[in-house]
Assembly symmetry: C2
């Protein structure tokens, strides 16, 4: 398996487009389509927010089908809390795309992101979908990626090439998200394509598993969005015998590739956390079990006190162990240790006397790994997050409705 | 029942003192004692943080006794994550106070607040306790209150006078706390005294009940501290027949007074939230049950996106209903309504077209009540919180270890 520099159209048989439909005030790309030239096995996970967008409610129906043809999407308006009209608009986005693509009913996923509580400007959206259809091309990956962004400050993509039964296969993914990030099944948007052949029911199972190890391990602000969607399309054009179980000879390599793309994108989302000055990896080891480890890692990653301490470049282990303490996980305080990029600052329940010069160096770095060992058993988890800065407050106090 | 302007020594038979022992870098008051002249029925609740301070671990033992004589406390050092030496120091604070006050073993509660991870400077603490003992006086309430503060910007106190079986009784409380506020049993510190007679076991039960309706309903940053302690001393000098059950004729009035003091102090803590520019009351009604109502209210109150929106004076109902949606409570989106100080901005699952001038007026106010009706059943809860400002980040990025 090797990483390649490709867009969402890098796997064989995928085309994409993004256009400037006039939904975003900035005038940037805001409507797009990603389509497979042949029906693709599809798996997806969505937000568990009760106030889920009509786009999510509709796409859940699409996800019940074995195969899908495309994803149609817009940024600048989340189409959330928009009632019956919002549902009609989501359906219209799908229906128009189905017509243009010659796809069957419920074969196009719909995704919307942006401000909550406004109806989609459907004239602009429909025009955008028609233009996107005309622009669909293997070279359309970059425009499509730009058309899912909101407060993102950089493009989030990842792609790998690997062999399945001797045949070349490619997997590629894009994602968006910088705020309202605390996915509970998937993140804001993550679209992944592959030309590998995967049996549909097995793909749906894999998507859930991988979401739990990637997007569900990212937190920026602790707010779970109304529109989170992770969608994987596998069109089988690589020509490998379809992967249909953990016992399949190609299962391991495909799982590794899917997990790598998903974790790459998840980390990019944390790295682009609103106002972020630090990219923080919280590794918890030696927990009672994996669930406890995740609970502790999430408590640390979500703590505003921990996040502001890292913004202030303060190695404040008190706040880290305090968050572990209130997380709800069970462990003995006197067995806990904490290290920052390998520098131990807390051991056997007590602060250590660290090399202050070295520690100052660690705190000034952009990427910091917080390693917490609980001394209980073998449970482990890794969560990715960012710090809390003045700019976080600025972005969210000024992003008006 | 009437509110009075009194310190913690307003009930008969209580004395207090606070001194400048040199623990705080600022040189402010930092050690003190509150004592009852006679043994007082005592009830207390403490943080459930696994990393609880030795002061809390020790005080839990004191709380097993029916009666207590005093509370000894310091600010500027939390004596948390300090291992065996920390426990010895907490015990020494109690033992020295017992000696000076002529109290029996395990009759003095110990409370410490401040930075986590440093040992108490015991020479200064012991000297402070000796000086506090000499200063103990009915007039010592203000100094004692100052000696529990850390990042607090104003004094938090509340007192009421009421009649029990024809006899005058008084209840008074003080509290501290502005950050690391998400109590899970009690808040940072809340000390309450009363001269009412209450049977000890019944008092312990009442304290738990009232904590759930007051301090456990405040959140500033979602971080549960290592040192939260709520302690109630009832010395019986009012001379009323001891209140020992819900059937007691004086139960209702005493409960009302205890709840009033506790809620007053809880609200003052939210009002003094670090960097706060707003005092937010989140009222959730018509939930499936009270637990669901609390879950929704807490999700809204803890959401950094909601908190920064209020700092930006933006009536962003999208973030409010989004938080309700991911809280885990069950309800139908199309039955939800949201009002800000009575102005409805969201109804039947859709944003309304509000009077923008009026709404602008509401958002510019310091005290804002967010009322969320879920349209499910009769469950309700009220949570108090503050907004998230630049100063929140400043205070917590610069409060170095």
């Amino acid at each position: 398996m090797k990483q390649i520099n490709g867009w969402i159209t890098a796997p064989q048989g995928f085309v994409a487009a993004g256009v400037k439909a006039g939904i975003k005030k900035s005038g940037n790309y805001d409507v797009g389509i990603i389509a497979s030239l042949v029906p693709a096995a599809a798996g997806a996970v969505f937000t568990q927010n009760v106030m889920a967008s009509p786009a999510v409610v509709f796409s859940r129906e699409v996800a019940k089908q074995d195969y899908a043809r495309a994803i149609v999407f817009n940024a600048g308006c989340a189409n959330a809390c928009t009632g019956g009209q919002g549902m009609a608009d989501a359906k219209r986005m799908a229906q128009l795309s189905e017509e243009l693509l010659g796809a069957g009913k419920n074969q196009v996923y719909v995704c919307s992101t942006g401000v909550i509580g406004h109806l989609l400007p459907m004239d602009k959206v429909e025009q955008g979908i028609r233009e996107s259809y005309k622009d669909l091309a293997v070279g359309g990956g970059e425009a499509a990626t730009l058309a899912i962004q909101t407060t993102d400050t950089f493009v989030k993509k990842s792609a790998y090439e690997f062999k399945l039964n001797g045949k070349k296969a490619v997997i590629a993914g894009i994602a968006k998200g910088a705020g309202m990030i605390h996915p509970n099944m998937a993140t804001m948007f993550s679209f992944i394509t592959t030309d590998a052949a995967v049996q549909p029911a097995f793909l749906k199972k894999l998507v859930k598993e991988v979401a739990d190890k990637s997007f569900n391990m990212v937190v920026v602000d602790g707010d779970t969005s109304t529109n989170d969607s992770m969608i994987v399309l596998a069109n089988g054009l690589a020509g490998n015998p379809a992967i249909d179980s953990e016992q399949h000879p190609d299962y391991a390599i495909f799982y590794e590739a899917l997990l790598a793309v998903s974790q790459d994108l998840a980390k990019l989302i944390a790295r682009d956390g609103e106002g972020a000055t630090k990219f923080l990896t919280v590794e918890v080891n030696e927990a009672e079990n994996d669930t406890d480890a995740k609970v502790v890692a999430m408590a640390i990653a979500k703590s505003p006190l921990v996040k502001t301490a890292f913004f202030g470049q303060d190695p404040n282990w008190g706040r880290i162990v305090c968050a572990a303490g209130y997380s709800g996980a069970s462990f003995s305080p006197d067995k806990v240790s904490v290290a920052l990029n390998g520098q131990i600052i807390f051991e056997n329940g007590l602060g250590t006397v660290p090399d202050l010069e070295k520690l100052k160096g660690v705190m000034s770095e952009h990427d910091i790994t917080i390693t917490v060992k609980l001394g209980a058993a073998e449970g482990k988890a890794t969560v990715w997050t960012s710090d809390f800065s003045y700019d976080y407050v600025k972005i969210n106090a000024e992003y008006h409705t």
